[in-house]
Structures are given as structure tokens and as C-alpha cells.
């Protein structure tokens, strides 16, 4: 069955634009997510991990 196309084109277009913005938004976020994590992070965590409770 063919989907009815009753919506005015402007509404479809608005939705399309919102979807496009959504795609770009995720891309922008994922760009940072996909950056290599600086060694500093793991180093800091390693030091915290080695800390004994009640010490320092």
C-alpha cells in the first residue's frame, strides 16, 4: 500500500529538517566520543585506584 501523502509539503520539509539536525547533532557529539581518550584520564583513575581508604 502506498503511504498517503496528505501532509502539506512544508510540514514534511520541517520534519525532514529536524531529522537532519538530529543526525548532525549526533555526529557532532560522536566526533568527541570517538576522539582518543587522553592518557591523563586513565592515569588519574589509576592513582585514585591505588589510594587506600583512610589514607592521605
Amino acid at each position: 500500500m502506498k503511504p498517503p501523502r496528505k501532509r502539506p509539503p512544508s510540514l514534511d520539509e520541517a520534519r525532514l529538517r529536524q531529522q537532519a539536525i538530529g543526525v548532525k547533532l549526533r555526529q557532532m557529539f560522536d566526533e568527541v566520543v570517538n576522539e582518543p581518550v587522553p592518557d591523563e584520564f586513565l592515569e588519574i583513575l589509576r592513582r585514585a585506584d591505588a589510594r587506600r581508604p583512610g589514607e592521605g
Binding site: Q18, A20, I21, R26, Q27, E31, V37, R52
Partner: protein, 200 residues
């Protein structure tokens, strides 16, 4: 270190499981921090603080629940408490806004992405963070509401206002740089998005 004895094996195992999960979340914490802070260096400082806070509070985390939402909440609280302490430091100025979310050395990145960043920087902070959490971070409205410490309806309305505002800014070409004529940024975003995914 001479810590050869663990107080309890299960506790050590639990710490290790927590650590593994936390490490996996670091990239996401960095990305979220980048959306809150003006620049990448400040964002990494914030993400590191949040990571440490989460580690120190690991006893209070219930394994098996949503650690991503939990750490994002810690990061956000940290951001706003830093901000109260040093308002000046974290306030978005024009230069910082330009660097917001810039993936450091990628000048060849698509132009439209840069325009989206600038348009995002123009949104009120609470709208921007709601949109990022739901639209990019993959959180449900309920989770975003918990992270932002507000009602679900509030998040929904912030997200929808942010979406409308973004679209308006992009279509009017009303971001800081005046390189593009009205609508050009939106057209580029559309064209680019079509390449990236199949938008029906």
C-alpha cells in the same frame, strides 16, 4: 603498592567492574563536558573531576543501574557548582562559543557542523543541555530529567524549544559568522545529513 590483602574479594571485584564501566564512559563524559564548557581543555578538566567524583562515590552506586546517567548527573552538578564558584571562568564568551564542541584538529570537517555548533552556542544553556542529552546522548526524557533535576515535561518542552530555535537560527543564517546567506547553513546540513544517513 603493598596492598596484598583485600578487605573482601567481592568488594575488589565490584571495584574492578565499576572501574571498567567507568572507563568505558570517559569518551561520553568528555563529549558532554565539551557541550557544557567553552573549550576543550576546561571540558577535560571537568570530565576528569567528574570521573574522580564518580570513582570516590562508587560505594553509593548501585551496580546494574544506569551508570551513564549517574555519571552525567555528577558531571553536570560539578559544572554548575564550579560555575557558582567561578562564574567568570566558565561563562561563554564569543571566542569560547566558537570553540564549543570543536573536535580539536579537524579544520576539514564539514562546514555545516561548525554552523550547528555556533547555532547551539546561541541557545539558552538549559535548552542546549536538554537537546544534547536527548538528541545526541541517547537518553530518554525521563533520564534527562533525572540528570537535569527537573520534571519530564520541562525536559520535553526545552528540547522542543531548542529544536525550533536551532532550525530558526540555521535557516535564517543568524549565527555569528556572516559568511553564508540565509538558509545556506540549513541546506548544507540537509545535504550532509543525507549523505550520512538515509533520511526518509
Amino acid at each position: 603498592m603493598g596492598a596484598s590483602e583485600h578487605p573482601g574479594r567481592s568488594s575488589a571485584e565490584r571495584d574492578e567492574a565499576f572501574r571498567v564501566e567507568l572507563v568505558a564512559l570517559i569518551p561520553h563524559l568528555r563529549a558532554f563536558a565539551r557541550t557544557l564548557c567553552g573549550d576543550a581543555t576546561a571540558a577535560d578538566d571537568l570530565a576528569q573531576d567528574a570521573m574522580l567524583k564518580a570513582w570516590d562515590a562508587r560505594e553509593s552506586f548501585q551496580m546494574g543501574t544506569n551508570m551513564k546517567a549517574w555519571t552525567f548527573m555528577i558531571l553536570r552538578n560539578q559544572f554548575y557548582s564550579d560555575k557558582r564558584r567561578a562564574w567568570r571562568q566558565t561563562q561563554l564568551d564569543q571566542e569560547a562559543a566558537e570553540r564549543t564542541l570543536v573536535a580539536v584538529d579537524d579544520p576539514a570537517g564539514p562546514v555545516a557542523l561548525d554552523e550547528l555548533r555556533q547555532a547551539l552556542a546561541m541557545l539558552p544553556a538549559e535548552q542546549r543541555e536538554a537537546l544534547i542529552l536527548v538528541g545526541a546522548g541517547g537518553f530518554a526524557y525521563e533520564e534527562a530529567a533525572a540528570i537535569c533535576n527537573c520534571a519530564v515535561g520541562t525536559v520535553k518542552s526545552r528540547v522542543s524549544r531548542a529544536r525550533r530555535a536551532l532550525q530558526g537560527v540555521l535557516e535564517s543564517g543568524d549565527y555569528r559568522r556572516e559568511k553564508s546567506s540565509a538558509g545556506e547553513a540549513m541546506d548544507r546540513i540537509l545535504a550532509d545529513a543525507e549523505r550520512l544517513s538515509t533520511v526518509k
